[in-house]
């Protein structure tokens, strides 16, 4: 509605409900932020907060909003003008650089134009979607395995007609008693045809595809926080990925130094032990597990081993042999080496001899490499 008052002014209140422009462009900005997230996947997936947020569907991550680049002055190298309360002195500190890690939590928020943070809501699913789009299950064997189905028969319904062999005695008797009771006397007999109740069944065809990850990690003295957090990120995403492809994924954690033990997940990542490294011990344990619990005819087996590569030299040949043995039973064997130094480890040097598409390895030098490691170990196979 609007009403004119000559010359001076008009007041109007229109219906703006269809005006969505701000939201549309906000959405576009949101999309661009998502693109940026995608480009930052390497950083994102090694983000501990995601890995530890197990169960949370939506994660809020502060990411820098998209910059609109312009030719501008360097704020920190320029002089500025401010205003005191009448008592300012040369040398007075009027603001401090905000804490790098927690922008905006300083005591005087808004002190510095600085960086704008944009709280992006990313659901785990989205991150997964972006990440998994780049991964593929290794080894064609996996496909055949996934077709294994079990036909289950469950009796889950009762009907009045059926095969005499499937008669449900209890229900038939109950019905007969009820009917006789209505006639005056609650007895089983006589049983009429109408009282008969039959069990019927449904056939369930359930594709059963299972996978097991045999997570093996070196917990010898040389494996530090960095090494373990890389391994943890890797196993986390790997398990998530396998879960989207298989009905059930089980994980067994094998920690080893000179001896190998099956441990809980918690212990696996918090364990810090000292001593030397004999990798073959872990492989032997893995083989034992496969024979006991995870038959290759039912499971897709993914043994993945993380180490810093500092294996006892004498053990290298033995390890190699066991890796080959494991590969015969598995869909893939992954070896991740967390090794910040440039030279390759003795173990890696040994494994380089392996010429089998089932063997995949990656050397992680920095945290962001976890992403590359995932991509390389689960890379698409060229036909």
């Amino acid at each position: 509605m609007s009403e004119k008052q000559p010359n001076r002014f008009v007041v109007s209140q229109e219906n703006w409900s269809l005006h969505r422009k701000g939201y549309q462009d906000q959405q576009r900005h949101g999309e661009k932020v998502k693109e940026a997230i995608k480009n930052n996947l390497p950083d994102l997936i090694s983000e501990e907060s995601i890995i530890l947020s197990n169960g949370d569907k939506v994660i809020k991550i502060p990411i820098r909003s998209l910059d609109e680049y312009k030719i501008r002055y360097n704020y920190d190298k320029s002089k500025h003008v401010g205003q005191g309360q009448g008592d300012s002195q040369v040398g007075d500190v009027i603001a401090r650089e905000p804490d790098e890690k927690n922008p905006g939590t300083g005591t005087e928020p808004g002190d510095k134009p600085g960086q704008e943070y944009y709280e992006a809501e990313v659901s785990l699913e989205e991150v997964e979607g972006m990440l998994f789009a780049e991964l593929e299950l290794p080894n064609l064997q996996a496909k055949e395995m996934a077709e294994i189905t079990t036909d289950k028969i469950t009796f889950n319904d009762i009907r009045k007609k059926g095969l005499m062999g499937n008669v449900d005695k209890k229900r038939t008797i109950i019905t007969a008693i009820k009917r006789n009771a209505m006639k005056g006397k609650a007895t089983i007999s006589p049983i009429s045809n109408d009282d008969l109740r039959f069990k019927t069944w449904d056939e369930e065809v359930k594709p059963e595809s299972k996978a097991v990850v045999l997570a093996m990690m070196d917990v010898s003295g040389s494996m530090g926080e960095f090494e373990k957090s890389c391994a943890r990120s890797f196993f986390y995403w790997m398990t998530k990925f396998l879960r989207t492809k298989y009905g059930t994924v089980e994980i067994e954690f094998i920690a080893h130094h000179t001896e190998a033990k099956i441990v809980t997940e918690e212990a696996f990542f918090s364990r810090g032990e000292s001593g030397g490294t004999v990798c073959s011990s872990a492989y032997r344990k893995a083989l034992e597990l496969i024979h006991e619990k995870y038959s290759p005819s039912r499971y897709n087996i993914y043994p993945v081993h993380f180490s810093d590569g500092e294996n006892t030299t004498a053990d290298n040949e033995k390890s190699l042999k066991l890796v080959q043995e494991l590969m015969e039973l598995s869909s893939m064997f992954g070896y991740g080496e967390v090794n910040k130094s440039i030279r390759s480890s003795t173990l890696m040097t040994t494994y380089k001899k392996i010429d089998d598409p089932k063997f995949r390895h990656y050397i992680i030098k920095k945290k962001q490499d976890v992403y590359e490691a995932l991509k390389s170990i689960f890379k698409r196979q060229e036909a």
């Binding site: 008052q5 010359n7 001076r8 002014f9 008009v10 007041v11 109007s12 209140q13 229109e14 703006w16 005006h19 422009k21 701000g22 939201y23 549309q24 462009d25 906000q26 959405q27 576009r28 900005h29 949101g30 999309e31 661009k32 909003s65 998209l66 910059d67 609109e68 680049y69 312009k70 030719i71 501008r72 002055y73 360097n74 704020y75 920190d76 190298k77 320029s78 002089k79 500025h80 003008v81 401010g82 205003q83 005191g84 309360q85 008592d87 300012s88 002195q89 040369v90 040398g91 007075d92 500190v93 009027i94 603001a95 401090r96 650089e97 005087e108 002190d111 510095k112 704008e116 944009y118």
Partner: protein, 465 residues
């Protein structure tokens, strides 16, 4: 509410006119928050779509939702003049905003910087939005967005001079050529003339542009070999929009100071209840609150206007000798609002007393801290001026449009003690490359040494000059 509001507007308009404010007919639109913040983000009711506006909108809306934002005044320089009122404003908030925007409108109408602005920009920007939307359909959203990204990165680099010479290097070239060459065929006669050194004539390369060109947008629009017609069209339209916004960038302190000065005077004339008076006092204090780390244009502008008024109401003997009559303060500030812009406003009227009275200082970053480095009034003034020169943007000119005789673009930053943000610059050069189509260079000064940043289409580099 509606009726009360009309009565209030009527009264305020009356008072403003009596004070001598001269404004266009007003159009007040009452809108919900998301609409008003949309307009705020875009600077216009209808403007072309771009994610950067969406980002701004989101930020403003978020602050509003969190209750962080103060009252919001939004007024558009047009005839009739549009002002937007939030539908959840209290009557007192509306009164303050109305008084404030009337003074803005007076400023738009009377300040000389605005004399060339198009008053039909609301319609013009709507048309621009429609044209760009059509280009999106024709050439693809991505394509258009990428182009807009590039143009927006350099949109402030125009020449907003009120009387600017036309960009026309052709004439200049001819003028230069007259003396050395008698006929256009002189070159030919000289072909066999081995003795004559060819070097000097060769190095006498025609300058292009003949004078360093401030209007980067216009220069690219005219001479880029890269642009398609639709791109040139967008460039023209965006430059037009920037020309429209430019006077507002140049008069931020004055304009807000003027509006704050008047909303205070007008509000004093109204019969407010006690509760209303308290509410108003709180709102006003929020608007004109000084800050330790930045200059609040509302506050500084207001103080300078009040200072001028006071001085001209009580002129010194010296001033009287120059013809200043006592009690001519009001008259003087009306004159100031007409002829000055922020730079001259500060240069002419930020006096030593005012700097001291308002406790203004210069500060800079030292290690992790921001420290006061100077309290000398000349320093403060100089610093304020350099922050306001060219609307607060670095001054960039086109030095050579045919650099290295290869059609490359050579830009120069008019360095005056303030370094550029190198990180940002390295991101902007690829955008200029995208528009120019050939290597782009920008000369500036870093750590007191001239340095040239370049981008050749693949990678950026920098070298000292």
């Amino acid at each position: 509410m509606e009726k009360e509001l009309r009565l209030a507007i009527d009264e305020i308009t009356e008072i403003a006119s009596d004070f001598g404010l001269d404004f266009y007919p007003m159009r007040y639109e009452i809108c919900p928050a998301d609409i008003i913040y949309t307009f705020g983000a875009y600077g216009m009711p209808t403007r072309f779509a771009h994610w950067s506006f969406g980002k701004q909108f989101h930020k403003m809306k978020l602050q509003y939702d969190l209750g962080l934002s103060q009252i919001y005044e939004l007024v558009i320089n047009s005839n009739p003049c549009y002002a937007f009122l939030l539908d959840t404003n209290t009557l007192v908030q509306n009164k303050l905003i109305i008084a404030h925007v009337l003074a803005h409108c007076d400023f738009f109408k009377n300040n000389v910087r605005f004399s060339n602005t198009r008053r039909d920009m609301v319609e013009s920007m709507t048309a621009t939005a429609e044209r760009i939307a059509r280009y999106e359909i024709l050439y693809g959203k991505e394509e258009v967005e990428q182009f807009l990204d590039a143009v927006l990165a350099i949109q402030e680099h125009i020449d907003p001079s009120l009387l600017r010479p036309k960009l026309d290097p052709q004439e200049e070239e001819e003028a230069e050529e007259v003396s050395p060459q008698k006929t256009p065929y002189d070159d030919l006669w000289k072909l066999d003339d081995r003795e004559e050194p060819t070097q000097p004539t060769r190095s006498k390369k025609k300058k292009f542009p003949p004078q360093p060109e401030k209007d980067l947008l216009l220069f690219i629009e005219e001479y880029s070999r890269e642009l398609e017609d639709w791109q040139r069209d967008i460039l023209t339209m965006l430059r037009e929009e920037m020309l429209y916004f430019w006077p507002q960038l140049e008069t931020k302190i004055m304009n807000e100071g003027w509006a704050s000065y008047w909303h205070q005077r007008i509000m004093r004339e109204l019969n407010l209840t006690t509760a209303e008076t308290i509410e108003y006092a709180k709102l006003n204090a929020g608007v004109v609150q000084p800050s330790r780390t930045t200059i609040n244009p509302y506050y500084l502008g207001l103080k300078i206007f009040e200072h001028i008024e006071h001085k001209y109401n009580h002129p010194t003997e010296e001033m009287k000798a120059l013809g200043v009559k006592p009690n001519s303060g009001r008259e003087k500030i009306f004159e100031v609002r007409e002829i000055e812009s922020d730079v001259s406003f500060i240069r002419n009227y930020l006096s030593k007393e005012l700097v001291k009275e308002e406790d203004l200082y210069v500060f800079a970053k030292k290690d992790q801290e921001y420290q006061i480095t100077d309290k000398d009034h000349e320093e403060v003034k100089q610093q304020l001026i350099s922050m306001r020169v060219n609307g607060g943007f670095p001054y960039i000119v086109v030095e050579d449009g045919d650099y290295a005789r290869n059609g490359e673009l050579y830009l120069k930053h008019g360095y005056e003690g303030m370094e550029l943000d190198a990180h940002y610059l390295e991101h902007v050069l690829p955008y200029i490359y995208q528009l120019w189509g050939r290597s782009v260079h920008l000369e500036t000064v870093l750590e007191d040494r001239p340095i040239i940043y370049s981008f050749d289409g693949n990678k950026g580099s920098r070298r000292s000059k």
